[in-house]
Amino acid sequence: MIKLPTIHIGRLSLLLSILVWLALLFVDLVRLFGVINNLNSGIAAEFTWVLEILFFLTVYFFYNYNLQKNAQNEFLNLLWRAASTGIFASAAFLVIQVFYQFLGDSKLGQEPFLRNFFYHVHFALISIFLISTTLLWKKLILYQKTKQVVQQWQTYEIGLLIAMFFVFFSQNTFGYSFIFGFVILTVLGGFLSVNLKWIPYLTFKEKWKSLLFLAIIIICSVYLFLQTNAYSSAQQTYPINLLDNLFLISLYIFILIYALFSFLVTLFNLPTSSVFEQKLTEAINFQRLSQSIQPDEDEEKVLDILMDSSMSASFADGAWLEMYQTDRDQAILQTRWIEEKEREELSKLIESNSAAQNWAKESKADLLNPLPLKISHPKFGSLLLVPLVINKSVIGRMVLCKELKDGFNKEMVSIIETFARQASISVENHRLLNQAIQNERYQEELKIAQRVQKALLPNNLDHNKDFEICAYSNAADEVGGDYYDTFQLDQHRYAIIIGDVSGKGTSAAFHMAQMKGVFQSLIQLNLSPKEFMIRSNAALSRCLERNHFITASIFIIDTLHHQVCHARAGHVPTLFYRSGNQKAEYLGIGGLGLGILRNMQYEKHVEEKEFTYHSGDILVLFTDGIVEAKNQKSQQFGFERIRALVEINYHLSPKEIQAKLIDTLHDFVGGDGLIDDDYSLLVVKFN
């Protein structure tokens, strides 16, 4: 593939226009040579005209491209470009004239070739000035364009294109057709010249500058026009007329009309420009207010903007803003141009004003509007109370003060009301956002709690080859109050505990952690199950909340003597399956929950029992979440179902028995039924 070099339209059109101009110059000089020496050069006038049109087009493309590329199209910048081109063209012209004055009647002064050269320079400068300025005018006219204006402009451009070729038809003579074309283009240009929407957007200062630039453009174009006419009237040595062209003359008129219109409209817009600027500032302020505050920013920033915007909208001489913290306690957040003493005086005046009293009592905060007040104060004549309403309650008020009496008109009040509403919305959004972030952080904290709590339950359950063990636990909320643990006392003895803290959720989780601490400390003392419960009760009585208790069952398995010693503290009974008679039953043993009796009386309420196990026997420890799980008919899962399930599945491994129990439990509760309590399950099977 041949890769075409990227065509640079700007440079290409510039190069082309220079080449065309040189060709034009050459052709005309050759023709002049022919005229002087009475030779027929054989070059038709049409040839020059084609080159002329080509020159116009290349200049047009160059400037069109150039303008599009320069995105920086401020109005003043555009005007300055037109003015500077005009100044340049006029200056070049003046220099040429001075040059000829200087030469006077010398031979060089009469030299027709030199004169012709300058004629072509003049032609090039005028074309550049006219075409570039027209394109700049196009930018201005099409500012905030409508479809209609674009169509008008396109019609005008087509008209101009036709005007370029008009020379072929008229053969450079003035006639009715020339006048007809000229009038049509002038009328079209006049229509376009009413599009002056850019002017109001200039600030006061910019308007003055643009007046200056427009004046320069007008002077330059008038000067250049007069010079062109001077050439036309002194036609003796120019073999061909380049300047009496319908295209160029129409552009002259168009540029002049538009510049004049702009000049006059800018001039008459000067006195009202402050109003327009005010409205623009209000719109910008409104936009600034509606931009939401970033979470790490302070809402004071919004209130700051509110104060500034409201003061500039109402030309207030002073203001302050107060936020109601709690009942009657007001915090003055910001004051502007007002002394503390004056503020206190004004506050007293407001409080004694009956209209303001009624206003402050308004129960429906939504209906509260800004209230203008007349006051008798040595400095200030009128006040405006503006409420700040968030979530249907008044959170504060802004007070604007003016030295004039009746200083706040309806328009001011309504714009300030809008400002206040917008600011309130921003503040509310800010607060909501902060709340959401806070909530997210709590969620995050809960997740951490969940992770920490999971780590409190053992990963590896202590056991030896004489028994297998497995455990499962599930919390209704992120964290729960169920607990199980194991401990190897010596080579043959193992402790297993299961516990359940009353209640659920975070408080239960804390108590569960305490239970873990108690178990891990006391179990190392090699206590009997009963002694363990008594000490646990004593320890927990000191740290549990008054209405909280913990239930627990502890088992100490001696694999050497095949003995199990256990105690129960209010916990749901443990199921024991005997392989001998293939029956399962709940271990009946008395015992009060931990933390219920917080004195020495507890000793009387706890028992200890011992039994012998055989190979194939199974212990099933669980918490009340399983027993009390309800199905859609409000029936509890109950002890009986667990017993029956174990009797049927006794031959399975502990893991399988556990899975059977949990699956059955879920089936019982129903597809999307939730078990709203923590539940845990431990299965021990002796080998």
Binding site: F549, G593, I596, L597, E628
Partner: protein, 111 residues
């Protein structure tokens, strides 16, 4: 759902909780009992016939008054519990600390 009615049969005050007592509404039960105690009731009877279910949080309420009532000489008795709810009291061992009676008459006659 839980609703609690309070009846007075001089000198006894009878609480009649209806529905399920769990962590979300155990505060209601707590308030009812505390109000009676503050008003100087010396004998509080809880009619358990309409308690459908009681969770550990509900049990915690009864438990929390044990010592206070003993000190203040207030007697708290429960009667007519359904077997299922009674079982919960028994498992925890609360039946050893709070007198529980099969029916109202027995509760009124006992000292």
């Amino acid at each position: 759902m839980l609703s609690i009615e309070t009846l007075q049969e001089h000198p006894h005050f009878i609480l009649l909780p209806k529905g399920e007592i769990d962590a979300s509404n155990s505060v209601q039960l707590d308030e009812s009992i505390r109000k009676l105690a503050e008003n100087g009731a010396k004998s509080i009877l809880v009619d358990g016939s309409a308690i459908e279910y009681i969770s550990s949080a509900g049990l915690g309420v009864f438990m929390s008054y044990l010592e206070d009532f003993q000190e203040q000489g207030i007697s708290l008795k429960i009667f007519s519990l359904s077997p299922r709810v009674l079982e919960v009291f028994q498992i925890l061992g609360l039946d050893q600390l709070i007198p529980i009676f099969p029916e109202k008459e027995a509760a009124l006659n006992a000292n």
